[in-house]
Amino acid sequence: MADLTTNFAGIKSPNPFWLASAPPTNMGSMIERAFDAGWGGAVWKTLGEPITNVSSRLAALDQGQVRMIGLNNIELITDRPLEVNLKEMAECKKKYPNHTVIASLMVESKKEAWQEITKRTQDTGCDGFELNFGCPHGMSERGMGAAMGQVPEYTCMVTEWVKEVSDIPVIVKLTPNVTHIVPPGRAAQKGGADAVSLINTINSVMGVDVDTMIPYPNVNGMAAHGGYCGTAVKPIALNMVSELARDAEFDIPISGIGGINTWRDAVEFMLLGAANVQVCTAVMHYGYRIVEDMIDGLNNYLDEKGFASVGDIVGKSVGRITDWGDLDLNYDVKARVNEDKCIQCNLCYVACEDGAHQSFEFVESNGKRYPRVIEKECVGCNLCYLVCPSPGAIEMVRVDAGGPTESWRERTAGN
């Protein structure tokens, strides 16, 4: 059994799995049940001036029979009185001293307001703060949340305010609703943040009821954009995490968030630079119990790969992401069909004909008609391999001689 304990910017946890600040961390009893289920930490539903929510609030993107591959939410920060949350937070921390309790904060953009809530909250014994500069809906219209995270100067300024009075580590939660994640990341670091967490949710309109023509979620016939999360956002989150992890000037820990359902997702985030992960949508779908397999699967993975500690995998794949201009132009793969595994669905054929480079033909073999790759036309794009439903029926085979590499940058260096 590998060591799953983490020390994230000075915050110790029994494992790298935290609940993100969201409906599953709405109150003490919920977080206590989550800790009982095995979660290593929880970021409390964002504290601030209590708000009034609307009904309904959530809408989902389904893919075929798969429910909720994406979720969007227009629920705001906590609607509970601050003193109630603080009281429960103190009790929870007392009951679960070895688990991590992080207080997420969001108040109006005034130094006094931020410093007051920081001071009041740290008296609970919580392990750290997470500054919510990411909420993309509702709060941003009031100059909070993403409105702050989208302006690096504000991010830096508010972080400084909090750091001035905080005795515990401060994590800045970044919004993905920016064209480039590095400037806000650097701004948080410059403001003294001990770590960042990302991504918060993405601006989204989930869809429209084509019968009533009212978009989702319906609030008395109207809708507003919400924050998009769940499985579908994972690639966007991975990109942003890795961009920060690769940035030479950025050197504080990253808490990875966005579409994490399983231990495998978590490992991917960690390989690309996240020191721990936060989960919300998967829990909203299936409950706290999912952490059991996250822990078990991560343990088995680390054992199988020979890592003694979960920290050993953090950032292992960061060096494998580069700019396009540095990729090897001489590397050459071609698709190949294994007829013994081919089920003749011909999805490779049509995908290549209409979606790629017309590199397939049909051949008769053993009385059956199989798709076959015309090698000289195949550009090695992977599309056929990606659409193939039969494992092993298509493989991508390296065909270049493995000689010297040459990137576009190198090729154009003299120009």
Partner: protein, 465 residues
């Protein structure tokens, strides 16, 4: 018939026994199954379907919520797609070819999805294909079974004035009168007939076609119309007359009370007038084709105590599909393979049989014998009445356009192929409609699924890459 010679079961039990073997899918089940379809390209299922329905196309329309569009894809390639959804041997056709069967041994339930889409179209009373602008020409169709209905539907879509002549009191042929009741109730076939009637096709029921010029009688119980009149009234004639009477065993006792033709019995079952259906307690069905299976399984469902399937050859030689034999096994049918009936015994009513197994001849008890040994061909109808050629097996001779030796007379279905599935007859009706149209107008048309071609290969990029 005395009242004792019928089912001993109460009606509720019989209705339960005859519940549809492939029940309708709920919307949730259909969505789940439709989403499981891989949407293959130039799909094996489509190749395996004799009418070449665009199966992935109609399934994806179910998944997208376009169920009427789905039904249109089905009826476009097969006007009797609702019947075929229930009675097709999908195990050896579309579902047998499904790549999901290859991949995970669980083919998509294409038949039941097809039923879901076509049921929906019928439930909302959607007329998928409308009556077309008349083109001034007329076609007479003899026989309203799968071949005739299909041919009629396509001709109506081309604007022909179509009249279907049917000897029985209801249209639909074997789809109406010959399918095991637990596979499909009569209402399905009749609503397909209705759908085609609403495309402008006229149905003249209780009417037989006869030879000679002066035989036409249109006021009797069973009317008669001479072939000569059909030629006069119509620009072309399609003959979809199916097969004739059940073959004779040619053994003593064949005419005793208690000896039935399987198709006659099945037709009686279609009335669902359960107590009027003759049934013994110890039933022997002779033959091992799919009709024999329909007979044994239904005799058992009606409540016969013992039902035996008797066949002169081995189990391996049985012409019934394996899954049909399996159904009979599950129903507790007894089998007597390599057993030849020698005599049916009884005074006025059957009380036993003498049979031969190898060298040994012995008597068995039974009180009902059902013959399911195939039907005779309609050779004399074609040669004597229609005046067209038949082959050595008694099948009407047709070319690729379903045209007989008489250029204005076309034929298709069991009478041309010797007896196959309803879906095969439907495809022949489609080809006949195309052939008739080309013969009468010189214009080629091609209906959905008429011809399968390899998809054309796209041009490759002339630039090297």
């Amino acid at each position: 018939m005395d009242n004792a010679f019928c089912t001993p079961l109460d009606i509720t039990q019989i209705e339960h026994n005859f519940a549809e073997i492939n029940p309708a899918m709920s919307a949730a089940e259909a969505m789940q199954e439709a989403n499981r379809c891989l949407y293959c390209y130039d799909a094996p299922c489509m190749h395996a379907c004799p009418t070449h329905i665009d199966v992935p196309g109609f399934i994806k329309k179910i998944a997208s919520g376009n169920v009427i569009g789905s039904a249109r894809v089905i009826f476009d390639a097969n006007p009797i797609g609702a019947s075929c959804a229930r009675v097709c041997p999908v195990e050896v056709l579309c579902e047998g070819a499904c790549v999901e069967k290859t991949l995970i041994k669980k083919p998509i339930e294409i038949g039941r999805l097809q039923r879901y889409a076509t049921d929906h179209a019928m439930a909302v009373d959607k007329q998928i294909f409308e009556k077309c602008e008349p083109n001034g020409m007329s076609v007479g169709i003899v026989g309203s079974g799968p071949a005739g209905l299909s041919c009629a539907a396509y001709l109506a879509r081309l604007g022909y004035d179509v009249t279907v002549y049917e000897a029985k009191e209801k249209a639909g042929g074997l789809d109406t009168y010959g399918m095991a009741e637990y596979k499909m109730p009569q209402t399905v076939s009749l609503s397909e007939v209705d759908h085609i009637a609403r495309m402008g096709v006229k149905f003249i029921l209780n009417t037989r076609i006869t030879g000679g010029d002066d035989e036409t009688e249109i006021l009797g119980k069973v009317n008669r119309v001479s072939m000569a009149m059909l030629r006069e009234w119509h620009d072309a004639v399609f003959l979809g007359v199916g097969l004739g009477e059940t073959n004779k065993l040619g053994i003593p006792g064949e005419d005793l009370d208690g000896v039935f033709d399987a198709l006659d019995l099945i037709e009686k079952i279609k009335t669902r007038d359960w107590k009027s259906i003759p049934l013994g307690q110890n039933v022997v069905v002779i033959g091992a084709g799919n009709t024999a299976i329909d007979a044994v399984t239904q005799a058992k469902r009606l409540g016969a105590e013992k039902v035996t399937l008797m066949y002169r050859r081995t189990e391996k030689d049985a012409p019934a599909y394996e899954y049909e034999l399996e159904l009979a096994r599950k129903d507790g049918i007894e089998f007597m393979w390599e057993t030849i009936p020698v005599e049916i015994k009884g005074d006025s009513r059957v009380n036993g049989m003498t049979v031969l197994q190898g060298e040994s001849e012995f008597a068995i008890d039974c009180d009902m014998v059902i013959k399911a040994i195939g039907q005779q061909k309609m050779a004399s109808f074609f040669t004597d009445i229609a005046g067209v050629d038949v082959d050595e097996k008694g099948r009407v001779v047709v070319n690729g356009q379903m045209q007989t030796s008489d250029a204005k007379i076309f034929a298709g279905g069991d009478c041309a192929n010797g007896g196959a599935e309803a879906v095969d007859a439907s495809q022949m009706g489609k080809h006949a409609a195309m052939g008739i149209h080309e013969t009468l107008t010189g214009e080629k048309v091609e209906f959905a699924g008429a011809i399968l071609r390899d998809p054309p290969k796209a041009p490759v990029d002339p630039n090297p890459h």
